[in-house]
Subunit: 433 residues, 2 copies
Amino acid sequence: MSTITAFDTSDVRFPTSVLLDGSDAMNPDPDYSAAYLRIRTDSDDGLEGHGFAFTIGRGNDIEVDAIAALSPYILGRNVEELLADMGATWRELVYDSQLRWLGPEKGIMHMAIGAVVNALWDLKAKREGKPLWLLLAEMTPEEIVALVDFRYLTDALNPEEALDILRGAVSGRDERTATLRREGYPAYTTSPGWLGYDDAKLARLCREAVEHGYQQIKLKVGANLQDDIRRMGIAREVCGPDIKIAVDANQRWGVDEAIAWMKELKRFDVAWIEEPTSPDDILGHAAIARGVAPIPVATGEHVQSRIIFKQMLQADALQVLQIDATRVAGVNENVAILLLAAKFGVRVCPHAGGVGLCEAVQHLSMFDYVAVSGSMEGRMIEYVDHLHEHFAIPVDVRAARYFPPTEPGAGYEMFEASVAEYTFPRVLEPVAP
Amino acid sequence: MSTITAFDTSDVRFPTSVLLDGSDAMNPDPDYSAAYLRIRTDSDDGLEGHGFAFTIGRGNDIEVDAIAALSPYILGRNVEELLADMGATWRELVYDSQLRWLGPEKGIMHMAIGAVVNALWDLKAKREGKPLWLLLAEMTPEEIVALVDFRYLTDALNPEEALDILRGAVSGRDERTATLRREGYPAYTTSPGWLGYDDAKLARLCREAVEHGYQQIKLKVGANLQDDIRRMGIAREVCGPDIKIAVDANQRWGVDEAIAWMKELKRFDVAWIEEPTSPDDILGHAAIARGVAPIPVATGEHVQSRIIFKQMLQADALQVLQIDATRVAGVNENVAILLLAAKFGVRVCPHAGGVGLCEAVQHLSMFDYVAVSGSMEGRMIEYVDHLHEHFAIPVDVRAARYFPPTEPGAGYEMFEASVAEYTFPRVLEPVAP
């Protein structure tokens, strides 16, 4: 029996804005950051749980404060009890009646809960000596369903349906695990497409992406239509007709504008249009999906919760569902979202990049492949070649495929030296924009 | 010409949980709190702008931190410039590309923007020597439309339609202003209905509400069906058949549960069912509205933004729209929401109570009556008799009607002594739940 003895937060920020990596139509100068959490116990095993919420700079300190506000739920608690029923642990955090007012289940507080939940999963996976994807994929359907809170989901998915989906995928788990280890999971890359890059850099990076074996790349669009047409032309010419090219507007448009803009881009054969409008606009996405069909609509990196994803699926508002490892309340909620996607037969292509998002989210896609959807068809994980060197278990991406982590953990652990080097000084006055 | 010289935040908490005022099925023990902001300038007029975000206790410190993070946008700025174009000021705050990641436009960060925007409106109203409702109601339609960001609204409401609505209400403004001053604006009361009260207290408070002239009361429901049936029976018996009784489930249910539960309560003649499920579930509310018709569905106190309200209206998911003074990004966003409600012909009955919400939100309903919808039909502002003594301009509620404030300001200003007395000590460790 052991106790949680430390709950340490850090405000970690990488000055990525200097190189305009990650620049898009709504985010011209992100500083990739992590509101970072490290949980320690008094157990002899010395294992720790690490988790974080990803932000893009200013406000990372507020996210850290929100994580710290959850320490009374964790510090001093019995480790085995917390980890034994992760469904109950999740509910305890999400249903704090006072903190709930600050969301509910959205934004800073919900992301903070995600960081805590994920740190606990990291600890749980290390204790069981497995990478998270395998830990989840080896659970029984009943254990997986017990992770999910169905309160606001039953009009779309009830526990019995979730069990049916999972039971249907039990046979073949071993075979798919072997396939995954042998062939990896498909990746696509956003590295060429940031808005801050000039045409020559765009062309060079497109060429390199194809050479590295990527079957899909993604370009940022939405700031200026003529620029987008020119850049799409360059990308299509360099990549040739067989490479898929998705575009990402990062919420720039209203409904009509999205439809009109995509009319101009569709001649380049667009693999999907991502975040055409507000991530909160379910009916707007549905209208856009109808208006730009057959181009699929993708969204998710800013979708606040399983409740919005549920409706996106009910309304046929998205054809590509993009989970994110740190936007919702952690692994449990992403399991719910994967089950919803499976119920509706929609493919999941996670958002990644940023800092550590590739390391973390791959576990969810791999679990999905082995134990939920059972399919890699049309599915791929975003890949961006940034900041992996700071992670204890960096992604193993070769020939445009993610190879499954073998070391125990959930992927959130940053090197202590990196955390120390990039810890942002706590200033008395907030940073000016 | 003057400059903003101080941007002071306070963590103000009232220990209301001791008396179980404000207890409901999801919020058993709220401590009504305000993440409070006071803006001062170097002008000789000595006028200040006050604003706050309402929370229910734990986490109020995080909300304060989020407000403080916005100080670089305000501190040292030219006052006249900031106040002259409140639409531009709003967009500057909402579209900070890095802080936006923490929402976008939802939760802690969005409420913090609301507190800042409202403090600026408070200052603007004081400078113009008018209560906020009158300041807004005397603006031209063009000036009002310029307050609104239409980026994600045009599929439901464009600037021309908004102008038409406002122009249509220009004639009659003077007459309605006179009516408002003479007759006040209708109120309903939630004071009798908190779940923490016993039956005798419920009956006594129902009787008092009727004696005070209230035409509608509201009861909290959703924790236990048999209790709800008993309590509704008591309330209906005490109030008689002519008083409207609304019920409020505070997000307790899923869709099917809401419909089933209301089948059991409808025999008591229910005025509306409020927050039957997650405030993020537009399609769920729409399904419930169809399932419980003709009982109207009401929601809004937790609706994060105009984008969700837009969809609620598009989907016919609510029949009573409940704006809140501190949930969204301030006056500007509530003006957008009032315009949406007018476009869809839905009545607005604001959420109030808490601390200072009555003082603040009345301005919006009164502006709506004079200059937007032009109607009080079926409309009323929630009233709870708590904590008004702490406000510089307390509500003037008589015979179950709100009489319009005459003093300049937006209603958010708390007495300095109250702020000082109830400032929560900043502790190193977060407070245990």
